[in-house]
């Protein structure tokens, strides 16, 4: 069970969590196609046909799904030429994740914390690569990795200067979350979990977010380890934390070597697929 340990907080006058949460609904209204996909993709009786028909009306999003389906990550080597097949290849959860990215404007880098997508792609790929070690579906792990920092983006959006300062002061992700809790009454991962739960993402996915900071939780171990990989790849002068401890003994340092290589190799392509071509956006 996750227990949020710190009660003390310095809530800024400018920051209103209610407002942030309300903004999530407003966003949905602005991107109706993405919102519809987020809601439909969760249904048990949805199909690639239904999803692709909705997806087709958001050209930018559709082209990203096509691009992702043909990326090295899925190994299809450019064979995916129809949107319906692209949806089949990447899976419903991934389509939903991409719609969520569009919905929350995570594809607009001007509104994001510095380094956001470098960290996110590393996090997602590392999470996917390590998932089998934790008995989890790599696909879900990829998605949760892609969305994990959504809360950070929301915090940044609503408190740009304050959040930038907070990030500068806390380059380490764990310390940063403590600082977030102190400043906003909620940390960014928890905020992500709340938002995703609000949109009907399965609890099995969102609960991982809530357990990252519980070092005794193996369920949180995957994302915790993925954050470590992301930090090693994206944070300058990073002081590594032993992976054995972070992963509840599931991983050793040797195991990380191929994962680091693979993440480095695939990160750019995933980033391009998620953000779309610069000139078309």
């Amino acid at each position: 069970m996750t227990v949020t340990p710190l009660q003390a907080r310095v809530e800024t006058d400018a920051f209103d969590l209610e407002k942030v949460l309300a903004s999530i609904d407003t966003m949905a209204a602005q991107r109706p196609v993405a919102a519809q996909i987020v809601s439909v993709a969760n249904s048990d009786d949805t199909s690639a046909k239904v999803l692709s028909r909705i997806l087709a009306s958001d050209v930018a999003l559709a082209s990203r799904v096509m691009k992702l389906a043909n990326s090295a990550y899925f190994g299809m080597r450019g064979r995916v030429t129809s949107l319906q097949f692209a949806v089949t290849v990447v899976g419903f959860t991934t389509v939903r994740t991409m719609a969520t990215v569009a919905l929350t404007e995570l594809d607009d880098e001007s509104r994001l914390p510095e380094n956001f997508w470098d960290v996110t792609t590393s996090l997602a790929l590392a999470s996917s690569a390590l998932a089998p070690r934790f008995g989890e579906r790599p696909q879900d792990a990829l998605c949760i990795g892609l969305l994990a920092q959504m809360g950070a983006a929301l915090l940044n959006h609503n408190d740009r200067e304050g959040y930038a300062e907070l990030v500068d002061d806390n380059p380490d992700f764990t310390a940063r979350r403590v600082a977030e809790l102190r400043r906003y009454g909620i940390n960014s991962l928890r905020l992500t979990a709340v938002a995703l739960e609000q949109w009907g993402f399965p609890h099995s996915m969102t609960s991982r977010l809530n357990q990252v900071d519980d070092f005794t939780s193996m369920e949180g171990g995957l994302l915790r380890s993925a954050f470590e990989v992301a930090a090693r790849l994206t944070t300058e002068d990073y002081d590594t934390v032993p992976i054995v401890r972070l992963s509840c003994g599931q991983l050793r340092e040797d195991d990380l070597v191929p994962v680091l290589d693979q993440v480095r190799a695939d990160a750019d392509e995933l980033r391009r697929a998620m953000l779309g071509d610069v000139d078309t956006d």
């Binding site: 309300a22 048990d44 949805t46 959860t93 089998p132 579906r137 009454g185 909620i186 739960e197």
Partner: protein, 707 residues
């Protein structure tokens, strides 16, 4: 006790159920809350409902239904005083507001604390009232008995499935998404020699042979699209070896997740290798490794276009191979064949086919060559083959007779081409060993004519168109006719009379001699019986029947016996004539058969005596009655050479055998032979060969009692 309020709710299935609600006396739930409950919730037995209100900065529970009382374990009064955050221990700090939203409904899955202090995992949905101070809270336990049972069943299914695939000897892949694998079993890891971690995700793609990858992806696409497909693909093992497999893909759909596939792999490497070995064995000679006759036929047939040219066949037959085999042994013979095969393969042009036709015969097939080039190749081959081979300490020069045929417009089929070069080879061999012969137009026509003649001979034998003439044989004692020799004649309807010197060897070559021999034997017996009937005691006492060397086997005595019996003749009426050379082919076997014939009671004569090289000692042990002095020795008499005829007659007398002098052309020869002591005479000057009818008349006129 609080009076219950009965309410009726419509379930999704359309079933109507009663829900009993306890309502506090003094603080009635606003109607909008109650309606929101029914419009937003599916009511069921496991559904717990509470109402919360924010009073003085703290949210407290103000009401709960029976489900809530049962789930949470509080009495209703205790529940009514409970702060909401007490129910949700994980919502520390200010997080309760994440659940109790003023402007919209919220939903969270989180632990709910019960009266006992234990927690229950539940999906909690909150709906605010329009005044922003009250919330309806639905608590749906996810750990109900039914849920647990369902999950346990699902887990058991999952475990069964994973055990099945894990332990299965069939290499199995389970996709997660697209080409990405979520699972591989031990059998697949063993097949490709890699660990599961290296294969999951897209890692396994590296094990698929580059040239097969496109096809595999295509099949995966089809499987993801719902089809069941299979494909042959090579998989690369970690040690660099390649396994050929059949991968079968089945579609897999997980609701809410999407499509994947199950791949099962059958390793067919060994089976293919075995089949390839069998196919190779069926088409290749095991000794030399060269294509065999079957493959040769397929090869030529595949390239033969009637009415064109360009194909050439060289037919080689090793000269004296039998000598090597007989003198140095079969191992040396095999060694020689292997060496010849290697030399042939080395000397032909790239793209030419070298095949072992059988025994010591080889065929080379060339494409796009003229006759000159084919002959040049044959010469190169002859030179190359003639280099000495050391076999068992002896240098052997393997000369070959080579027949060459270049395809012409007259070749109607591939078989004709091969047959023609076979003919050419026989002509080369006949012309002396170590030669090269090209089958030209004339030779081809001759050969075809001969083939036609063979067919006609077969017909003639079947239709008994081969007739017999009978030449009388005379006693030197009184000049009376004592016997006849049966002579086969073939009067061809178109070609006219054909000499026995032509058709007997032809029958021997083409396997017709047995039929011909039987015909002569049977017709002779029939004629003897007819003469007996017509002439009584004046009929010829005996008929001599010639037997070919090829007839001299165990079948002959029963055939003779059957013919005699068929026509009711005594065995002494027949004398079997066998050439000296036929006896020498297999002397032991010949002697055995002669003894059997003799035991039947027939007479035996050695034909053409003196032309062969039989040893006198051997002759002495043969159970013969008569020697026939060859016509060539009789002819020599005219030139004063009496030595051999004298010697043969003297020899016969000293062995107590009778003699027949053949080819007596003049009365002088007859007188001379009589003087020398010959027993019988036969020849043109004495009597020509006669038909059966004429012979009857002739014997009636000339015959004395001869028996």
């Amino acid at each position: 006790m609080t009076p219950p309020i009965g309410a009726v709710a419509e379930q999704p299935e359309g079933r109507t159920v009663s829900v009993t609600m306890s309502v506090p006396d003094d603080d009635r739930v606003p109607p909008e809350i109650v309606s929101s409950v029914f419009y937003s919730a599916t009511v069921s037995d496991t559904l717990a409902l509470v109402v919360a209100e924010k009073v003085g900065g703290r949210s407290r529970i103000t009401w709960g239904n029976v489900g809530a009382v049962e789930l949470l374990g509080y009495g209703l009064d205790d529940l009514r005083a409970l702060p909401v955050d007490h129910l949700f221990p994980t919502l520390g700090g200010g997080e309760l507001k994440l659940l109790l939203r003023r402007e919209r409904a919220a939903r969270m899955t989180l632990p709910v604390r019960t009266a006992s202090g234990a927690t229950v995992e539940a999906v909690v949905t909150t709906t605010p009232s329009p005044n922003n101070r009250m919330w309806t809270i639905r608590i749906l336990s996810t750990t109900s008995e039914q849920e647990r049972a369902l999950r346990a069943t699902a887990d058991a299914h999952e475990r069964r499935f994973s055990t099945l695939t894990e332990r299965s000897p069939v290499p199995t892949l389970l996709s997660e998404q697209g080409m990405r694998l979520a699972h591989v079993n031990d059998a697949f890891c063993t097949l490709v020699g890699r660990r599961a971690e290296q294969l999951l995700g897209t890692g396994w793609i590296e094990t698929v042979h580059e040239d097969d990858l496109d096809t595999v992806i295509e099949q995966v696409s089809a499987a993801l699209d719902g089809e069941e497909v299979e494909t042959q693909a090579r998989l690369l093992r970690d040690d660099g070896t390649v396994r050929t497999t059949i991968i079968r893909f089945a579609h897999l759909f997980t609701p809410g997740v999407g499509a994947g596939f199950v791949g099962t792999i059958e390793d067919i490497t060994d089976r293919l290798a075995f089949e390839a070995r069998l196919a190779h064995q069926a088409n290749h000679d095991p000794l030399t490794g060269l294509p065999n006759r079957t493959l040769l036929a397929q090869y030529v047939a595949g390239r033969f276009v009637p009415g064109t040219g360009g194909l050439a066949c060289l037919f080689l037959d090793l000269d004296n191979f039998k000598v090597v085999n007989d003198s140095l042994g079969h191992t040396a013979g095999d060694e020689l064949l292997t060496e010849v095969a290697a030399r042939l393969s080395a000397v032909v042009r790239p793209g030419d086919l070298v095949a072992r036709f059988g025994g010591d015969e080889f065929v080379v097939v060339c494409e796009n060559v003229e006759q000159d080039a084919a002959v040049a190749l044959a010469e190169r081959i002859s030179v190359e083959l003639a280099r000495p081979v050391r076999l068992g300490g002896v240098d052997v020069r393997p000369y070959a007779s080579v027949g060459v045929t270049v395809q012409t417009e007259e070749h109607l089929s591939a078989e004709e081409l091969i047959r023609d070069c076979d003919i050419a080879m026989y002509q080369a061999k006949a012309g002396g060993k170590g030669r090269i012969t090209v089958l030209d137009q004339r030779a081809r026509e001759d050969a075809r004519d001969k083939l036609r003649l063979v067919a006609e001979l077969r017909d003639a034998i079947e239709k008994r168109e081969i007739t017999l003439l009978y030449q009388p044989i005379f006693s030197t004692v009184d000049g009376s006719p004592v016997a006849v020799e049966s002579l086969a004649r073939w009067d061809h309807a178109e070609r006219g009379p054909i000499s026995p010197a032509v058709f007997v060897p032809l029958a021997e070559e083409s396997g017709l001699i047995a039929g011909l021999g039987l015909l002569v034997l049977d017709e002779t017996c029939r004629q003897l019986a007819e003469w007996d009937r017509l002439m009584g005691w004046a009929a010829p006492a005996r008929a001599n029947v010639n037997v070919s060397a090829l007839q001299l086997d165990g079948n002959l005595p029963p055939q003779v016996s059957a013919a005699l019996e068929r026509h009711g003749l005594s065995p002494s009426r027949i004398s079997i004539e066998i050439t000296e050379s036929a006896l020498m082919k297999d002397p032991d076997s010949a002697r055995e058969i002669l003894h059997q014939l003799r035991d039947l009671g027939v007479e035996l004569a050695i034909d053409d005596f003196g032309t062969g090289y039989s040893s006198l000692a051997y002759l002495r042990h043969l159970p013969v009655n008569c020697l026939k002095v060859d016509r060539s020795f009789v002819a020599e008499l005219a030139h004063g050479h009496t030595e051999i005829a004298t010697a043969v007659i003297a020899l016969a007398r000293s062995l107590n055998l009778s003699t027949v002098a053949e080819g007596v052309e003049t009365p002088e020869q007859a007188a001379e032979l009589t003087r020398m002591g010959a027993t019988y005479l036969q020849g043109f000057s004495l009597s020509q060969p006669l038909t059966g009818g004429h012979a009857a008349a002739w014997f009636a006129a000339h015959g004395d009692r001869t028996r």
